[in-house]
C-alpha cells in the first residue's frame, strides 16, 4: 500500500527517511506511538492464557541493556586494556 500506511518492518531501507517524514512526530503522536507499541507488546506476550518467562525476561533484558548504556561512561574507566 501507500507509504504512510505501512508498518516499520514493511518499509524498505531506502524509503526510511521518506517514511519517517510521513509519521506524526509531534509529542502527542510520539506518545500515541509508544502507547500503541506497549499495548501490542502486552497483547502478544503478557495478556495470554498460558504465558511463560519470555514476557518479562525480555523486559528485564531490555532494562539491563538500557541501564548499561546509561552507565557506559562510568564503566569505561574499568577497562582491562588501553588499546583495542
Amino acid at each position: 500500500g501507500p507509504l504512510s500506511t505501512r508498518r516499520l518492518m514493511d518499509v524498505r531501507l531506502g524509503e526510511l527517511p521518506l517514511w519517517l517524514a510521513t509519521r506524526d512526530l509531534s509529542p502527542q503522536g510520539l506518545l500515541g506511538g509508544v502507547q500503541k507499541a506497549w499495548s501490542r507488546y502486552c497483547d502478544k506476550y503478557i495478556n495470554v492464557r498460558r504465558g511463560g518467562a519470555a514476557g518479562i525476561s525480555m523486559l528485564l533484558a531490555g532494562y539491563c541493556i538500557l541501564s548499561y548504556s546509561w552507565n557506559y561512561q562510568h564503566i569505561k574507566c574499568y577497562r582491562w586494556r588501553k588499546y583495542h
Binding site: K44, Y45, I46, N47, V48, R49, R50, G51, G52, A53, A54, G55, S57, M58, A61, C64, Y68, I75, K76, Y78, R79, W80, R81, H84
Partner: protein, 226 residues
C-alpha cells in the same frame, strides 16, 4: 430516540469479548522472538542468527564495549540461579496459575449457566401460562352454567313461595265460606228444633203419649204370642 441512525453496525464491540489467545508469541531461549530467526532465515539459513550473535559477542568483548568486571560475575551467578529455578519449578507454577484461572472461569461460567437456566425455566413457565390462557373459554362456560343454574334455582324458589302464598289465601277464603255455611246450618237446625218443640202443645203431647202406650201394648201382645 429516532431509529434513523444505525446502531451496532461495526463488527467488533465490547461484548462478548474475544477470548485471550492461548499462547504468547514464540520466543527462543527466553530472550529473542522467533520473528528475528524467521527474518534472517531466507538469507542465512538456520545458523545465521547464532553466527550473528557469536560475532557480536566477540566484537563487544574484544573492543571492550562490554567490560568484564565484578558485575559480570554477579550477573552470571544470578542468571544461573534464575535459570535453574525456572527450569525446575516452572511447570508447577504454571499448573498452579492455570488452576487459579480455571476456578475463576468456572465461577463466572457457573453464574452464566445459572442465569441461563433460570431464564429457560421462566420461558417454560411463560409458555405454560400461555397454554392455560387457551382454556379460558371453558372456564367461562362453566362459570356461566353455574350462574344460570343459580338463577334458575332462585326463580323456582320464588315461584314456589308465590304458589304457597296464593294457596294459603284461597284456603282461607274456602274455610271462611265453609264456616259460614256450617254456622247457618247449625243455626237453622236449632231454630227449626226450637220451633218444633214449641209447637208441640200439651194436648198433642197427651195424645201422642196415649198412642204410644196403645202401640206398646199391641207390640207386647204380638211379642207374647211370638
Amino acid at each position: 430516540l429516532h431509529a434513523a441512525r444505525p446502531l451496532h453496525t461495526s463488527q467488533q464491540r465490547l461484548a462478548p469479548l474475544p477470548p485471550l489467545p492461548e499462547k504468547g508469541g514464540e520466543v527462543r531461549h527466553g530472550l529473542i522472538p522467533e520473528e528475528f530467526f524467521q527474518f534472517l532465515y531466507p538469507k542465512t539459513g538456520v545458523t545465521g542468527p547464532y553466527v550473528l550473535g557469536t560475532g557480536l559477542l566477540l566484537y563487544f568483548l574484544s573492543k571492550e564495549i562490554y567490560v568484564i568486571n565484578h558485575e559480570t560475575v554477579a550477573a552470571a551467578c544470578i542468571l544461573s540461579v534464575i535459570i535453574y529455578g525456572v527450569k525446575k519449578y516452572g511447570a508447577d507454577v504454571a499448573a498452579f496459575a492455570d488452576k487459579l484461572n480455571e476456578e475463576k472461569v468456572a465461577k463466572a461460567s457457573e453464574v452464566k449457566n445459572e442465569a441461563i437456566k433460570a431464564l429457560e425455566t421462566a420461558i417454560e413457565e411463560e409458555k405454560k401460562e400461555q397454554w392455560r390462557v387457551e382454556g379460558r373459554s371453558y372456564l367461562f362456560d362453566a362459570k356461566r352454567n353455574n350462574i344460570a343454574m343459580l338463577l334458575e334455582a332462585n326463580y323456582r324458589e320464588r315461584l314456589l313461595t308465590v304458589y304457597n302464598e296464593v294457596k294459603k289465601r284461597l284456603d282461607y277464603q274456602v274455610a271462611l265460606q265453609n264456616l259460614k255455611r256450617q254456622k247457618e246450618l247449625d243455626h237453622m237446625v236449632q231454630w227449626v228444633e226450637k220451633n218444633v218443640v214449641q209447637s208441640i202443645t200439651p194436648q198433642q203431647q197427651k195424645e201422642s203419649i196415649a198412642k204410644c202406650i196403645l202401640d206398646l201394648k199391641a207390640l207386647s201382645k204380638s211379642a207374647q204370642v211370638a
